[in-house]
């Protein structure tokens, strides 16, 4: 069901300390967002894709498919940014007349749209590197160390665990309904889906009560204390990640200022 999750536990970078991977992804993400330069964005896309596919051994085909996930939003968003509407026809590269105004694309709009598209793709690659290499449980451990409110981290961990339990239940109910023609027409489909959701809700509720009981049997008194597994930590990797982000930032900055090897 959730392939990203599966790869997070089976990829070749699984054993690298999560803090290092998070620092790397965030450093690149911030650099990419702060720079807004096409070249930098492209570099981030390629670099992150290489890290995921070559180092973490995520299948290239799957990675490409994953890049299409935000495509619908990106296309619609980018299209809207590029589109403009004005009385001043001279602004437009292409457009249609609607009454006294022109609806179409301006050069500035298209340029922003292209920047935006590449930047977003770069940022998405950073996110993908993180989610494909770092299991959620290790991210929680990190959040605990970062002193986020314990209640919040505990809730996250519970939600994560029970997403899988409820997904399985939902799938079973769905199969059982379809095997009896429950999604044959639009009307029955609405009714079936409503029943599925209502049942899932009732089951979640009962499940939470049972869970309280079973945890109380193990002396739960209000805190969900757990011991994090020891992780190998390499300060060198952490330093390298920050360095990579900084280099990118510096390179981009030089490019903006028209100096250095990245000058436009």
């Amino acid at each position: 069901m959730l392939k990203i999750d599966r790869y997070a536990y089976t990829n070749k970078l699984r054993c690298v300390h999560p803090a290092e991977k998070l620092a790397f992804a965030l450093a690149m993400l911030i650099a990419c967002l702060a720079l807004s330069s096409r070249l930098a964005s492209l570099l981030v896309v390629l670099f992150m894709a290489a890290s995921a596919v070559l180092r973490a051994k995520i299948p290239a085909l799957f990675y490409l498919k994953l890049l299409l996930v935000p495509a619908s939003f990106l296309l619609a968003g980018v299209f809207t940014v590029a589109l403009s509407f004005s009385k001043d026809a001279s602004l437009f590269l292409a457009g249609v007349k609607l009454g006294g105004c022109v609806l179409g694309f301006t050069a500035a709009g298209l340029a922003t749209a292209l920047d935006l598209f590449l930047k977003s793709l770069g940022a998405v690659s950073c996110l993908y590197f993180l989610v494909l290499t770092t299991p959620a449980v290790e991210i929680f451990a990190l959040l605990r160390k970062l002193r986020l409110p314990p209640l919040f981290v505990e809730l996250m961990a519970l939600v994560y665990r029970f997403i899988f339990v409820l997904l399985e239940t939902a799938e079973k109910i769905y199969l059982s309904q379809s095997s009896r023609g429950g999604y044959a027409t639009l009307k029955t489909a609405y009714f079936s889906l409503g029943q599925l959701a209502a049942n899932l809700f009732a089951k979640s509720y009962r499940h939470s009560q049972l869970l309280f009981l079973t945890l109380s049997a193990r002396c739960y008194t209000g805190e969900l204390n757990v011991l994090d597994e020891p992780c190998r930590f390499s300060p060198r990797n952490l330093l390298l990640s920050i360095l990579a982000g900084l280099t990118l930032l510096a390179a981009g900055y030089c490019a903006e200022k028209g100096a250095g090897p990245f000058a436009r």
Binding site: L74, A94, V159, I163, S208
Partner: protein, 249 residues
């Protein structure tokens, strides 16, 4: 000009029919907002989030079983948003759960649960993102639920039929969420010619194509769910109302 028109309509057609999952239009994709706006929406969301944490924390102290309930509720919200809504056009889309969550758990809990669901949508489904988490949480876990909850309470006060209250809460919560999303995009990308206002109009109308039928679908589904819940799970619903502190009519 004629050729350009053709290209334009082809482009428009391409965009309109290339929505494999239109509901995703609600999540602002990773990297789409400039850094400044990411920080802005994050900071704006923070007080609501902290208020939510404090409110939950207080209740959990007296009812330790609430923690398990909230955990399951969050997972439920995630699974609900992963279900496919049946639709007339044959395209598939997903419910947001904004209205259902607001009425069941109250807006305070929703700000926390919603942000958790959004994090997992980013981590497990690649919907939304980390940099846009603040903006998405604001529209889907703060603004939407607040409006949905207000509509629901108001409808109760007006003594509207229960189903109508739920329908309006879900549909308007959904619509308001998308308006906030459009506003967020418009603020970040004002139109070079027409400024912020024109940009808002552009985003709102483009997303409206998919969003209005979706809001109606979601409203209908939420009514079906609530009708079933009030029939079979009345006791659970009543116990649950510790959270929003309300009452089912």
């Amino acid at each position: 000009m004629r050729r350009k028109k053709l290209i334009l309509s082809a482009l428009a057609g391409f965009v309109l029919f290339s929505f494999p999952r239109p509901a995703l239009a609600m999540h602002i994709a990773e990297g789409f907002l400039p850094l400044g706006w990411c920080v802005f929406w994050g900071v704006l969301t923070l007080p609501f989030f902290i208020a939510g944490i404090l409110s939950i924390g207080k209740k959990v102290k007296h009812h330790p079983e609430l923690k398990m309930l909230l955990g399951l509720a969050g997972a439920f919200a995630f699974v609900l948003s992963a279900l496919k809504l049946p639709s007339v056009t044959g395209s598939c889309s997903h419910p947001t759960g904004v209205g259902l969550g607001a009425v069941l758990f109250g807006p305070a809990a929703m700000s926390v649960l919603g942000s958790i669901v959004l994090i997992f949508q980013a981590l497990l489904l690649a919907h939304g993102g980390l940099s846009t988490l603040g903006a998405n949480t604001f529209s889907m876990a703060v603004a939407g639920p607040l409006v949905a909850y207000a509509v629901y309470r108001f409808a109760l006060k007006l003594k509207l039929p229960f189903w109508l209250g739920v329908f309006l809460a879900a549909a308007l919560g959904d619509l308001f969420t998308y308006l906030v999303t459009s506003l967020q995009l418009a603020l970040a990308f004002p139109d070079p010619a027409g400024g912020m206002a024109l940009s808002f109009l552009k985003f709102a109308s483009i997303f409206a194509l998919t969003q209005i039928p979706l809001a109606v679908s979601e409203g209908l589904l939420t009514v079906v769910i609530f009708n079933l819940l009030t029939v079979h799970s009345r006791r659970e619903l009543e116990e649950l109302l510790v959270l929003p502190g309300g009452k089912i009519s």
